[in-house]
Structure formats: structure tokens, C-alpha cells
Amino acid sequence: MSKKVVDATIPTIPMMARFQRWFGRNLIRVYMVLAFTYLFIPVAYTFAFSFNDSGKSNLIWKGFTLDNWKNPCGAPEVCTALANSIKIGLLATIFSTILGTMIAFAIGRHKFKGRSTSNLLIFLPMATPEIVLGASLLSLFLVFKINPGFWPTVVAHVMFCISFVVVTVKARIASLDPRLEQAAMDLYANEFQTFRRVTLPLVAPGIAGAALLAFSLSFDDFIITNFNSGTVSTFPKFVYTAAARGIPAQANVIGSGMFFLALAIVIAGQFVNRRKAR
């Protein structure tokens, strides 16, 4: 008997079928690339045009320059507006995080009369259209003879940030095993020590997330700020006003800067978490 040659007639798969198979296997990747493109084109555009040698209006690409990055305060008022936004953002973050965390603990941990009502009411500012909130806050301030400006803006921001802080921190508290606190008490930690040594460290990531969220909400806010800030300029207000006569490239620089700062914070957070887990 002669040796049988191993079947050499492996059928060639037609081109079309092969493509279909590849597509089927890589569908999720294709989708991912498309989705991220959609998400990041505006960011990439903003970043690219921060290097535009634009002159007055930053609409048409006129050439590459680093001048805008070297001198981010170059456009008139842009840094005053930025400073105001950061100040308002930090104050709003501090107050809303403290108040919101306390509310979250009250709702998440204690049974009291009106608990479920408070739980519901906390969502209300999130559900109310900002334009309505902004307008009614303004009339409220005016009724009490308080002129719009820096502090009314801070108060308004604290108000709408609290809801988001409560929701974020409450979720973290809900996932906390009450037995851990009982174990701490069992191991000679009094109420305060239990809170400081066990509860707070375990809820801290939630509080930090809530603070970041509050800051970005405050920093970003235009509608409510526009009603209540009077003559005080913030970064969103500056960009909005500037849009009429051409947004300076410095706005792109600051926008890109904020984006990379946020990215850095997220990456650092991930890094710290991973180290902690090890």
C-alpha cells in the first residue's frame, strides 16, 4: 500500500466569508473604535486648536504655535474668570461634600421619621430643569435683598451639588458591611474611633468621587451661574460671552488643561487603588 498523501485539498474560503468571519470576531473592537472616536473628536479638536496661531478668532487653522500654552492668560479676562470658577468650585465642593456626606450617613444609616421622604426630596434638585432653578434662585435672592455675585453663586452651586454628593456617598455606604463597624466596636473602638478608623476610610473613595463630581459640576455650570453671579465672570460665562466675537485659543488651552488634569486624577486614583489592593 502506498502512503496516502494527507488531504491536500483544503477548501479555500471565499474572500467574502473570510471578511465576515473577521468582522464577526472583531465586531466589539470595531464598535469600540467608533464609539471612542465619537467621544474624543471634540476633545481632540479642542486640543489641536489650542496650538492654533489664531489671532482673534479661533475657527480656521492658521498655523502651529506654542504661544497660547506659554501664555494661557494672554486673552483679556480669561484668567480672572478661571480663578473665579476655581474658587467657586472649591468652595462649593467643600461645603456640598461635607453637608452631602452627613445627609448620606443620616439617610443611609439611621431610621428616623421622614427618612423616605428626605430620600425622595434629595433627588428633586437633580430632576428640576436648571433654567428654572437658576431663575427662581435669582428671584429668591432678590426678595431677600441679596445682590447676585460671588457668594450667591457659591450658595446656588452648593445647593445643586449636594444631591449628587448624597447619591454618590449613599451608594458607598449601602455597600458597607455593618458588621465591620460592629467588629470595630467589639474591638474596643468607641463610636468616634469606629467612625475614624473604619467607617471613614471605607467610605472615603465614595466621598472623594463625590467631591470630584461636585467640582466638575460647579466648574462646568453656566445656566444657574449666569442668573446668580451678576458681574462676576466665571470660565463658562467667559467662553459664552467670547463666542460672540470669537473664542480665544487660550480657552482651548484651559479646556485641554482641565481635561488632562481630570485624566491625571483618574489615572492616579486607579494607580493608588491597585497598589492598595496588592
Binding site: A184, Y188, N190
Partner: protein, 382 residues
């Protein structure tokens, strides 16, 4: 009133403790003394109130009525952190954000103990995990976490160590190993251990004294052997192992024995094992105490005749028989496979015999199924 009771030592005394949640009585007028230095088990099915009792001892719940004393000190209303009592929680409750070392050091640091390092290292050696000091709890296996939870509690040298279903989350093999280790550690450190479990085998293996709980009350308390050989209620007879309970009436006395009539057949049983209140009884015999014999074989002791082998199951060390009796009841018999006697076959006409001292008697108005429907392996948490 709350004050620091951390130096209290002595027996733990629960006096007429009741704990109500709304209309539900989790613990009902419970009085109990746990002697210093003992390994004490609270055994019962899910919802019997054993965990609630433990939580009241720990200070995590306050009794509705009653008092808790540790030696001379009333600790009923003291805070958990003011009691010299530590708990090994079900699922361990190790602090996930702290290292193993810091977990164990937690109690020492709160009390301001000086030489934390030495104490922690010593207890890590005791549980044989010194190499894990720098790890986080999530990086440990279940068995390792269990030992760390134990180390975290005993490092404080409490007057009382509470164990809440400490082995429930481990697999069978590891559970067996930890049972032996726990017992050894208890002897080694000489602390009072109070162990809550629904696993009768676990309680019998480890505890000096077992209190069987049912519906918020203690059914019976005693050494494992006492509870097994001389149960006072149908619940205990069924919850700890299996029992054959046969209806009968007391027909007379014979010195230290009682003569009872079981469906027309006379048997005798020791007086001190009778918990009957009138003439109506259930005679109880453990399945492994029975002997089966063919009709023509001479037998001694108590004999019930007229049985037929209904079912035979071979289970290695023993063979389990179901024997149908003339009055319609099926008795369970475990025969050791050690005597070289050929096993009986289905349909054989047999007599059942046993030594009279192995008989106990329960009240005739008992619910014979009490404690037997609950499957302790399945029901886990309260």
C-alpha cells in the same frame, strides 16, 4: 448606665433575658450560666434565638428584659467596647483596608497596649500564619481569614470569646481541621469560648457543654454525651442525631427501672432516664443501639418482635435498615459492619433487641417530629 467593665472576669450569667422585635420574641425568658474557662456551645436551628443571644452578650443588642453579669459586674447596658468580650464574626468581618497585622493590632491599639508587635507576632505564630502579616484580607483564603479573625479576637485576651458560626463558610474538610484547631487553641489560651452553631456534629465535637435552643428558649443543657444519651424532649432527641420514638404506657415499677408497654410488648428502662409526667410516654432508642436478629436466635434485654426488614442501605462502616413493626411504624437500625454476620435481607422476619439502659422516655404528649424537619445543613443564617 454605662461604665467601663473591661476588667470584669468570671462566669457569664444571663438572668431571665427576653429580646423582642415588635411582636416577635427572639429570646424568651432565658436564664443561663456559662462557667469560666469552658467551651460552651449554643446549638439550635435557624431562628432559634442563638445569634440574638450572642449579640446581647457582645453588647450589639440590648435585652428587652433581663440582665447579663460577668462575674460580679452587671454588663447589661455597657457598650460593646467596654466589655472584655470579643467576637469571631460569621464571615469574619476583617477590615479590608487594613493589613493582617493592623487587623490583629486593632484592639490592642484602641486599648493603648504597649508592646503591640510582640503580641501580634505571638498570636500570628499561634495560628501559624506569621508570613501573612503584610497582606490584605482579600488576598487570603477562607480558612486563613477564619484564623486571622480568631487571632484578632484572642490577642486581646478577653474574658469571653464569642464565635458566631465561625466555620459555616468553610468546606467540610477544612471545617473538620478547624474544629480540632479551635479546641486546641481554647485549651492553649484557657479562655471561655461561647460557640453558636446549627451544626450538631460541630457542637458535639468541640464543646464541653451544649445548650440546645429552640424558639428562644433552652430545651436542654448538658455535656454532649448527656444530651445524646438522655434527651429530655423530642426536639433534642431529633435535633442531635436520630431517634426512634415509640408510643407506650408505663405499666409498673421494678426497682430502679420502669416497665413500659409498647403496643403490647413489655420493655424496661432506667427511672433516671424517664422524663414522663404521667403514664403516657414515648420510649426513645438511638438507631445504633438496636440489634437485629432472626426469629429463632436467642436475645437478651428489651425485645420487640414481629418486624420485617423493609429496606437495606449499605453505607460503608454500617448498614442502615428500616424495619416495619406490626403497629405500622418503621424503625431505623444502624448495624456496624464489623461482626462478619451476613446482612439481613429485605423481607426477613426479625426481632429487634437492645440493652434497657439505652432507653429514654419522653412525655407522651410530645410532638414526635419536633426538631427533625429542620435540615441544619441547608439553613445557614438566621
Amino acid at each position: 448606665m454605662s461604665f467601663d467593665a473591661s476588667s470584669a472576669r468570671g462566669d457569664l450569667i444571663l438572668t431571665r433575658i427576653t429580646k423582642e422585635y415588635g411582636d416577635f420574641k427572639a429570646v424568651d425568658d432565658l436564664t443561663l450560666t456559662i462557667p469560666k474557662g469552658s467551651f460552651f456551645a449554643l446549638l439550635g436551628p435557624s431562628g432559634c434565638g442563638k445569634t440574638t443571644t450572642l449579640r446581647m452578650i457582645a453588647g450589639l443588642e440590648e435585652p428587652t428584659v433581663g440582665s447579663i453579669h460577668l462575674g460580679e459586674t452587671d454588663i447589661t447596658t455597657t457598650k460593646p467596647y467596654q466589655r472584655p468580650i470579643n467576637t469571631v464574626f460569621q464571615n469574619y468581618a476583617l477590615f479590608p483596608h487594613l493589613t493582617i497585622f493592623e487587623n490583629i493590632a486593632f484592639g490592642l491599639r484602641r486599648r493603648g497596649i504597649k508592646d503591640v508587635d510582640a503580641a501580634v507576632n505571638k498570636v500570628l505564630n499561634l495560628v501559624e500564619l506569621p508570613h501573612l502579616a503584610g497582606r490584605k484580607p482579600t488576598q487570603l483564603s477562607g480558612g486563613q481569614q477564619q484564623r486571622i479573625a480568631l487571632a484578632r479576637a484572642i490577642v486581646n485576651r478577653p474574658a469571653l470569646l464569642l464565635l458566631d458560626e465561625p466555620l459555616g463558610a468553610l468546606d467540610l474538610k477544612l471545617r473538620r481541621q478547624m474544629q480540632i484547631e479551635l479546641k486546641w487553641i481554647q485549651k492553649e489560651v484557657g479562655l471561655t469560648f461561647v460557640h453558636v452553631t446549627h451544626d450538631q456534629e460541630e457542637a458535639m465535637t468541640m464543646a464541653d457543654t451544649i445548650a440546645v435552643m429552640n424558639e428562644g428558649q433552652i430545651e436542654q443543657m448538658g455535656s454532649p454525651a448527656e444530651l445524646y444519651d438522655n434527651p429530655e424532649t423530642a426536639f433534642v432527641a431529633n435535633f442531635l442525631g436520630q431517634s426512634n420514638l415509640i408510643k407506650g404506657t408505663i405499666s409498673g415499677n421494678d426497682g430502679d427501672s420502669i416497665i413500659a408497654d409498647l403496643y403490647g410488648q413489655k420493655i424496661s428502662l432506667p427511672k433516671k432516664r424517664s422524663h414522663a409526667v404521667d403514664n403516657s410516654i414515648y420510649a426513645g432508642i438511638r438507631p445504633e443501639k438496636f440489634r437485629i436478629s432472626l426469629l429463632n436466635t436467642p436475645v437478651s434485654g428489651n425485645v420487640l418482635s414481629g418486624g420485617h426488614i423493609e429496606d437495606v442501605s449499605y453505607i460503608g462502616v454500617s448498614t442502615q435498615y428500616q424495619v416495619a413493626m406490626p403497629w405500622g411504624q418503621e424503625l431505623i437500625v444502624f448495624e456496624q459492619n464489623d461482626d462478619g454476620v451476613a446482612p439481613f435481607n429485605k423481607g426477613d422476619a426479625v426481632n429487634i433487641s437492645w440493652e434497657p439502659i439505652f432507653t429514654f422516655a419522653l412525655r407522651g404528649d410530645e410532638d414526635v417530629t419536633a426538631g427533625s424537619e429542620v435540615n441544619p445543613e441547608v439553613l445557614d443564617e438566621e
